[in-house]
């Protein structure tokens, strides 16, 4: 007789990210974590709490405030056979390291004629909703998705928070993981044997027939909530979680839209020149004749994120906004 498999445990995104880091540091002796306050402070959002005690200061390495320096150093260490996991506190601060990410990490392999690949993972927080105002709240993952030479991941589920890091570490190229700050405290069930997940495909998180909501990361729970609201109106929404923002899994997007014939792209990032624009263009290019309505978008307002709660909330796509856009699409183009 075998013991019954243990059931799922309740966990948070924060804990899932931590377990992923712990697992990586245990299994891969070339892996190390480096960033501001990842060690003694316990991580600015508490993700790496306890890891310094377990792995020591060489492998859980606190850095000074030097984003360009330590991100660049991560690239160098990766070139020299290590598997660095570099943490940048938030995406706004990653702009200080953008030069290193783009001009070195993303360009190295091609620029060197295929000689030097960069097996580096960079993690950072993204997203608004915590009243942190205009220098701590943006969603720039779409910008990074513009750059050839890197892979961009955005976990929106506990399974992905737990599983994407290991797969990213096995990747021979630079991988950026965007952790939505609103989700850190979100609780859910995770199987005790949850482990690495593939990072090549988008996922259908909810099946539906009338339209497709396409989103990722922090907007995924909101899109799922919108799908519930729509159900009350008799509208069946499918929800596609992009998961990997670069390279985009166009196949899954087009397959879903070809079933539902309508699409709403949801992204808390700005609309102009954005990832949502890219998704919309790909649908137009690949499934134009399947569409019963123009592709709609629900995006963040084109404003640096304001502090005041009512303004910040108004700047972000809410479930009601998503449901409204979806309803219009179905009703006006029935």
């Amino acid at each position: 007789m075998t013991a019954p498999a243990p059931g799922p445990t309740t966990t948070t995104f924060r804990q899932a990210y931590r377990e992923a880091l712990r697992d990586a540091l245990r299994r891969d002796e070339l892996a190390f974590l480096m960033g501001e306050d990842v060690g003694m402070y316990g991580g600015c959002f508490g993700v790496s709490t306890g890891l310094l005690e377990e792995f020591g200061p060489e492998r859980v390495r606190d850095t000074p405030l030097s984003e360009a320096g330590f991100v660049g150093a991560g690239i160098g260490a990766a070139l020299n056979g290590m598997h660095p996991i570099v943490e940048v506190m938030t995406v706004n601060f990653s702009l200080l390291a953008l030069d290193q990410i783009m001009n070195n990490a993303a360009s190295m392999l091609h620029m060197s004629g295929g000689q030097f690949n960069v097996p580096l993972v960079i993690r950072m927080t993204t997203g608004a909703g915590r009243q942190l105002a205009a220098q701590h709240s943006h969603s720039l993952e779409g910008w990074f998705g513009h750059i050839p030479g890197i892979r961009v991941l955005a976990p929106g589920t506990l399974e992905d928070a737990r599983g994407m890091l290991w797969t990213a570490l096995q990747d021979p190229d630079p991988v950026l993981i965007f952790e939505n700050g609103r989700l850190y405290g979100t609780e859910g069930e995770l199987a005790p044997d949850a482990g690495p997940v593939e990072i090549d495909h988008a996922a259908v998180r909810r099946a539906g027939t009338d339209l497709t909501l396409i989103t990722y990361g922090g907007s995924l729970p909101r899109a799922l909530e919108a799908a519930e609201l729509l159900l009350a109106d008799g509208i069946s929404a499918e929800v596609v979680d992009l998961r990997t923002l670069r390279p985009l899994d166009t196949t899954t997007i087009l397959a879903s839209v070809s079933r539902t014939h309508r699409a709403v792209v949801v992204d808390e990032a700005w609309r102009t020149g954005s990832l949502s624009a890219e998704v919309s263009a790909r649908i137009m290019e690949g499934a134009f004749y399947e569409l019963d309505a123009p592709v709609a978008r629900v995006c963040g307002a084109e404003v640096p994120i304001p502090y005041a709660q009512h303004l910040e909330q108004a700047a972000l796509p809410q479930p009601e906004d998503i449901a409204l856009a979806a309803r219009e699409l179905v009703q006006d183009h029935g």
């Binding site: 402070y41 000074p64 405030l65 105002a133 084109e302 005041a308």
Partner: protein, 331 residues
């Protein structure tokens, strides 16, 4: 470089009462902010200046009203000392349109054009290049104004610090760099972030006149800032002053403080700049019985008024969400 804390002259002590009042004002204001944060009236990230008041109060005392200040996210004290009203700061933290940044900025982004208070910058070292540019503007326009740029010691590891020091010295600009060395950048102690912990020595490498001062002694802070501002205003180029200070509270409201001992914090609290000045003034006969109590009453009244003002404040209409993105409205 060694610390230079000249013995204060008598006129400094005479002004001491005003400095005491000002430090108390900053302290009590932030103590009220903590209560309001617990009551969820103030949200987001909030960083307290408690323990470091001598620096802003001492330094601002040497600035003219038309001099500029550039600060960080830990700037409630600097804003008050630069003359922003308690009302406008409190209203800002309540997210009100009456706030000094219309509720768009919150605790980390206080601004005031009239008082030449250029923020509230929450990108560490992000304010330094701005200060260089403000000073460049004054120099090009032939104005004898000075720009005071406040930042923490943690900022000295950023590239922007080094680029700014070099530019300011190269172009001999009227900017005063005021480094608030409170020994920690979040949880990272100075010794774990700087290869050279003598910060004035580091700044001096850029040919910037540099020295350190006891940041818990408001009179010493004032004297040092006055000297630096005088040099900068007279065309002597930039100065760098390291203020050796300490924050008594957590980095922000979310900090578990795993990186320092309670004993260390207690030791520094023994050097509370407010208590120190109070003792000194009392001993020298500059603070009469009951004067401190009177100050406390006055300040409590000012803060009560600020909170009431913030409570009664109004919200920016949602229709105006994108109104201030560009000065010239786009379609």
């Amino acid at each position: 470089m060694t610390s230079t804390s000249p013995v204060p002259a008598a006129p400094d002590l005479a002004e001491g009462r005003r400095l005491l009042h000002e430090m108390l004002r900053l302290r009590r204001f932030e103590e009220r902010c903590v209560e309001l944060y617990s009551a969820a009236r103030i949200r987001g990230f909030m960083h307290l200046y408690i323990g470091e008041e001598a620096v802003a109060v001492g330094a601002m005392a040497s600035l003219r009203a038309d001099d500029a200040a550039v600060t960080t996210y830990r700037e409630h004290g600097h804003a008050l000392a630069k003359g922003l009203s308690a009302r406008s700061i409190m209203a800002e933290m309540f997210g009100r349109v009456e706030g000094c940044s219309r509720g768009h900025g919150g605790s980390m982004h206080l601004f005031d054009a009239e008082r030449r208070f250029y923020g509230g910058n929450a990108i560490v070292a992000g304010g330094l290049p701005l200060a260089v540019g403000l000073a460049l503007g004054d120099k090009l326009r032939g104005l004898d104004r000075v720009t005071a740029c406040y930042f923490g010691e943690g900022a000295m590891a950023e590239g922007a610090f080094h680029e700014s020091m070099n530019l300011a010295a190269l172009w001999s600009l009227p900017v005063v760099f005021l480094c608030e060395n409170n020994l920690y950048a979040m949880g990272t102690a100075l010794t774990r972030s700087e290869s050279q912990t003598d910060l004035a020595l580091k700044a001096a490498a850029y040919e910037v006149t540099s020295w350190a001062v006891d940041g818990m002694d408001v009179l010493a802070c004032r004297a040092a800032s006055r000297r630096a501002v005088d040099i900068a205003r007279a065309g002597g180029g930039p100065c760098f002053v390291e203020y050796r200070t300490y924050r008594f509270r957590a980095h922000s409201m979310y900090d578990p403080e795993l990186y320092r001992s309670k004993e260390e914090v207690e030791r520094w609290k023994q050097r509370d700049p407010i208590d120190a000045l109070d003792r000194r003034l009392t001993e020298a006969g500059y603070l009469a019985d009951g004067e401190r109590a009177q100050m406390e009453t006055e300040i409590a009244g000012e803060i009560d008024d600020a909170v009431a003002y913030a409570e009664e404040g109004t919200q920016e209409p949602v229709e105006d969400l994108t109104r201030y993105v560009l000065r010239r409205a786009s379609s």
